[in-house]
């Protein structure tokens, strides 16, 4: 979230977002602030708080390009980039309107089947930037991600990876076999910034819970463009807002 706010403050434009595989308030804020040209996602939602209001408004206004996807298709297309192959096959999806609206996806017969057997081929997705928040990193840029291994695939697939962390520690996260197992090596990390409580108002598992009051305020205000502007002014643009 800290990076999301920073992107809005610096007036980012024409971003193309990839949700891995879904997103919520971050995408909604970036869309509301006019930073986004297009989005690919399996879902955009505020969870218990309902739909993502600025996303929904932008969709209705035709203001952003949408690529509807499905969760495993996004994981798979990133794995294709991770492995340096131009495409990967995936089961399912046939007969959906998702496929009907994805001219970039192809269907071919499985060449290993006796007959027929159509299967979807997904082109690799290579993001310019992978951006996420994690509990900690060390001085060498190694980042503890625990079992959130989709972050590993994201980083492998992306050209550059930028990470915000709760804290930068002095220990080498790769030195101990136990921490190494849950660590993204610095080899894949282009930049790390310390942003304590940087996921708020979202939760960071095992560190802090979500700020549900804040999320509720956002969901309420963002129903209208005016309310969203008020939210931005109060929580993002105001001079005294940290990070």
């Amino acid at each position: 979230m800290a990076a999301t706010r920073a992107l809005i403050r610096r007036g980012a434009r024409d971003l193309r977002l990839l949700a891995v595989p879904q997103c919520g308030i971050q995408a909604d804020m970036l869309i509301g602030a006019g930073c986004v040209r297009g989005i690919e996602a399996a879902a955009v939602t505020m969870g218990e708080l309902g739909g993502a209001p600025r996303f929904n408004a932008a969709v209705k206004a035709g203001a952003i390009e949408i690529r509807d996807s499905t969760c495993p298709a996004i994981h798979t297309a990133l794995q294709a980039s991770e492995k340096g192959v131009p495409f990967m096959p995936l089961r399912g999806i046939l007969g959906t309107d998702i496929l009907a609206h994805r001219p970039d996806w192809k269907v071919q017969d499985n060449p290993f089947a006796e007959s027929g057997d159509p299967i979807v081929l997904l082109p690799a997705i290579r993001p310019d930037i992978a951006l996420f928040h994690a509990p900690r990193a060390d001085r060498a840029g190694n980042v503890w991600i625990g079992r959130r291994r989709e972050l590993v695939t994201m980083a492998h697939a992306a050209a550059r990876t930028l990470v915000t962390v709760e804290e930068i520690v002095e220990d080498d996260l790769l030195a101990d076999e136990a921490t190494a197992a849950g660590t993204l090596p610095g080899l894949y990390v282009s930049g790390v910034a310390e942003a304590p409580m940087g996921a708020l108002p979202l939760a960071l598992t095992e560190h802090y819970g979500a700020d549900t009051d804040h999320l509720g305020e956002y969901a309420r205000l963002a129903r209208s463009a005016e309310g969203f502007a008020e939210y931005l002014q109060r929580h993002v643009l105001a001079q005294d807002v940290a990070a």
Partner: protein, 243 residues
């Protein structure tokens, strides 16, 4: 204490899950989650239950793709899907109402439905709202199709549709739902009035079986405690306490 509608739904779900080895429950699904815990308790704890969003009931350590890979490996016997619209052929729509992409109403998106509906043998459609707005003749957008053409590789699909009014079974060969039972207070007529698609029906339509004493005790005791980890408000406000 009388049996509540929620308890009836939980018990019905538990019956639908009988014999499953591994049941996964998606996000924002307290009733399916409770149903799965009940089925596990009734089956002598042989069943594995994975609850998205739970810390304790989460067997996954390979990132976001593992749920989908696990289904693809044939290691997941049942899953739950919903839908803003569900039609008589079992097609589900999680994307929106109107003409894609601008749509009149936009919902979050298809999530993993386009995949899991093909891969998981026993998909239980669960949607409490039972109205012509939800149960439509034809969905506006196919997030995932109920049935597939001959020759399309498919292991899974709709098994049943449970609503706040009744339980439908799905007949894959006939491509139709069949009304199995109406909940207390409902009738063949009240269900027909609230349903926008055609379906077969038992005649007369039996009443959905109420949970027996053992089930009720489990729901109000052990299941309540288990689901409370992920859905504390639901457990406290909706589920009763064992006598």
């Amino acid at each position: 204490m009388p049996v509540t509608r929620t308890e009836l739904l939980i018990a019905t779900i538990a019956r639908l899950l009988e014999g499953c080895g591994h049941v996964a429950v998606g996000a924002s699904s307290p009733i399916p989650g409770a149903g799965a815990f009940l089925a596990r308790a009734l089956g002598g704890d042989e069943m594995r239950v994975s609850v998205l969003g739970s810390r304790r009931h989460n067997f996954f350590t390979d990132g976001g793709r593992e749920l989908f890979d696990c289904a693809a490996q044939g290691r997941m016997d049942a899953f739950f899907l919903g839908g803003g619209q569900i039609d008589g052929e079992g097609n589900i729509n999680l994307v929106g109402v109107g003409d894609y992409p601008t749509l009149d109403v936009r919902w979050p998106g298809s999530f993993g439905s386009a995949y899991l509906y093909f891969l998981v043998p026993r998909v239980i459609l669960f949607r409490e709202e039972h109205s012509p707005r939800v149960l439509v003749p034809t969905v506006d957008f196919v997030s995932a199709p109920g049935v597939s053409e001959e020759g399309v590789w498919r292991r899974g699909g709709p098994h049943a549709l449970l609503t706040g009014r009744c339980l439908f079974a799905f007949d894959r060969a006939a491509r139709r739902f069949r009304l199995e039972s109406a909940h207390p207070g409902e009738s063949a007529e009240s269900v027909a009035e609230a349903t926008g698609f055609g379906y077969d029906a038992a005649d007369p339509v039996p009443e959905t079986a109420a949970p027996d004493r053992r089930m009720l005790d489990l729901i109000r005791g052990r299941v309540r405690d288990e689901i409370a980890e992920t859905y504390p408000a639901f457990a406290a406000e909706v589920l009763g306490t064992a006598a």
